[in-house]
Symmetry: C2
Subunit: 351 residues, 2 copies
């Protein structure tokens, strides 16, 4: 029996049209991959907002943040033979790679988990800061841990792609802790409590020549310094998760183990969601893993967009047995889908 | 004025012929890239010994370590169209990459720093252990720190390439601390003392799409958990170090700053050595960097071998102003070269 995925009939919940660009001259290309949390009696999404400069005929332009914090617009001629625009996410020029868009993080909230709105002045935008975030910040996981919210997110720059950490208690002031996992790394999900006296996270370092795009675990005593690296899950050749896998949001504590929603992509860059169960006492131990995805790109908004055939999640809400996953569809819009946790666990027992 | 590199007239100092294979059926392909230290009144090299199975006609075979600790020999037919042997260091098959050799670490010692010998029963071989070292361990830096020797080395497996740490006081028993830097990472050089209350290391994470093969720094409170990642040096396009750079052995404390010997390669995989000076109080600050290499592959043994046109170092000895660098030549043999530290610093002042 497959797991029932109950998509919101209001999907997509948030699109570029619902938001204003962060500054003049920029256009919002997509709103995607939100971190999710509850605060102040409401449901909140920490959106990834991907912007690019208004495009002029014959020119491809893309932004980056200068050392001063100002935005700089880079330009190439579209008919320059040295340019490669075959992947919408990148501008490649003479062997160098740039991002076609730049992302920042932005808050919206909701009373019903379906209709979201910008909370007025309670809404600082989080932009990339410093050299390691010159191409923006992306895909933030939010984990509530020991009274504070910890944000693990992707830092992008010409130096490489790594995982940054910031911390907040009030969503007004943020303490930036720098890069906690070096390149090439992303998809970092903190466990919401210590296990045997240590903090843990799942993350996705990428290999070169040897290795791949697998899910690893790491341990820490202070959330800032990490070690004890172990690879716990591989991509499965010829499967839906054959090319790359990465953890979603913070693992969900259940009696059967840590339930982790993860994304997998195949060689055609089709992104689906699956589930895996980790041992409660020893989260390096994989107990079970869904053979089939629990969510695949099927709806029109999941198949077509800036980067089509993608469902990608790094945030969810839990209410009893109900798991509401918020996800980016086609790297363009944000959607919601409901699952029964018990049903996913039953599926995992059969694996 | 170029820096004077005084090669040992006895070069190469150590070759495969000087050692016995670690077990029957294996052939030593190269002895290279030693960690270097003093202990018990002697100079010691911790050799990287690269072995492969005796090759039979028409077959390419290569080793890996099984979970049990036993060695397994894998085989492919040389005329299989799915095989790619274009890079001597790898066996590529159907998109998968394996190492053509497997490396372990082995000690030799010397009374004069020139003639080295195996110290009999004082000589445990260090083999890869566990899943993350199934393809062996390589290129060990040895740092004396607070009364013990710390070994940072490359862990190689199908999970990826990362940095492992072990510790010893007597070179008889070793405490293995696991992977301290996740894939894709190598060339980790610990600073020999704390700076402002923290341990530091240089290391070389590799980028994918974005980023490159640059030298980064990290900080730690316990040598096992690392954070505070910063990129401090980039490769320089169209230069001798245009494709990749990586730190050599532990930085050398001088009055002018931390002197670091590093390797750089160009797009033709020609590996040279250069020098960089870091601020004593803030080692994330680069003060100067040699424009030209201080050592290039010129001698016959540096130009021809298993992987030619390579000088690569991760170990040296210091006696007053004299810096003796031990290095792997052509990934095949071990050589020595002497420099004046003052002369390198003078060269750096002009940069």
């Amino acid at each position: 029996m497959a797991v029932l995925a109950e998509r919101f009939e209001q999907n997509p919940l948030i699109t570029a049209r619902d938001l204003r660009p962060s500054r003049e001259g920029l256009v919002i290309e997509g709103v995607l991959n939100p971190g999710v949390f509850t605060f102040d009696g409401k449901a909140w999404l920490l959106l990834r907002v991907a912007e690019r400069p208004e495009q002029r005929a014959g020119i491809v332009s893309f932004p980056r943040i200068k050392k001063s914090g100002d935005l700089e617009v880079m330009e190439f001629r579209r008919n320059d033979p040295a340019i490669d625009l075959s992947d919408a996410r990148y501008v490649k020029y003479n062997g160098r790679t740039y991002l076609s868009t730049i992302s920042h993080l932005r808050l919206v909230c909701s009373d019903d988990g379906i209709h979201f709105y910008e909370p007025g002045d309670r809404s600082p935008f989080l932009f990339g800061e410093g050299e390691l975030e010159a191409f923006g910040i992306e895909d933030c996981r939010v984990t509530f841990l020991e009274g504070a919210y910890y944000l693990t997110y992707t830092q992008v720059s010409q130096s490489g792609v790594g995982v940054g950490l910031m911390c907040t208690e009030d969503w007004q002031t943020f303490s930036r802790k720098g890069m906690i996992l070096p390149p090439h790394n992303k998809d970092c999900a903190l466990f919401g409590e210590k296990i045997n006296g240590k903090y843990y996270c799942l993350h996705r370092p990428s290999g070169l020549d040897l290795g791949g795009h697998f899910i690893w675990i790491a341990a820490s005593t202070d959330l800032i310094h990490w070690g004890g690296y172990r690879c716990i899950m591989y991509s499965r050749e010829h499967c839906w998760d054959g090319a790359r896998i990465g953890a979603g949001a913070s693992p969900i504590r259940t009696e059967a183990g840590w339930l982790q929603i993860y994304h997998g992509a195949d060689r055609d860059n089709r992104y689906c969601l699956g589930a895996v169960l980790l041992d409660l006492e020893d989260p390096t131990r994989v107990l079970a893993r869904t053979l089939e995805p629990i969510l695949t790109p099927e709806a029109e908004y999941e198949r077509n967009g800036f980067f089509g055939n993608v469902v990608f999640s790094n945030g969810h809400l839990i209410r009893g047995d109900e798991l509401t996953i918020y996800y980016g569809a086609s790297d363009t819009v944000i959607c919601g889908v409901r699952f029964s946790i018990a049903e996913i666990l039953t599926e995992l027992k059969g694996c």
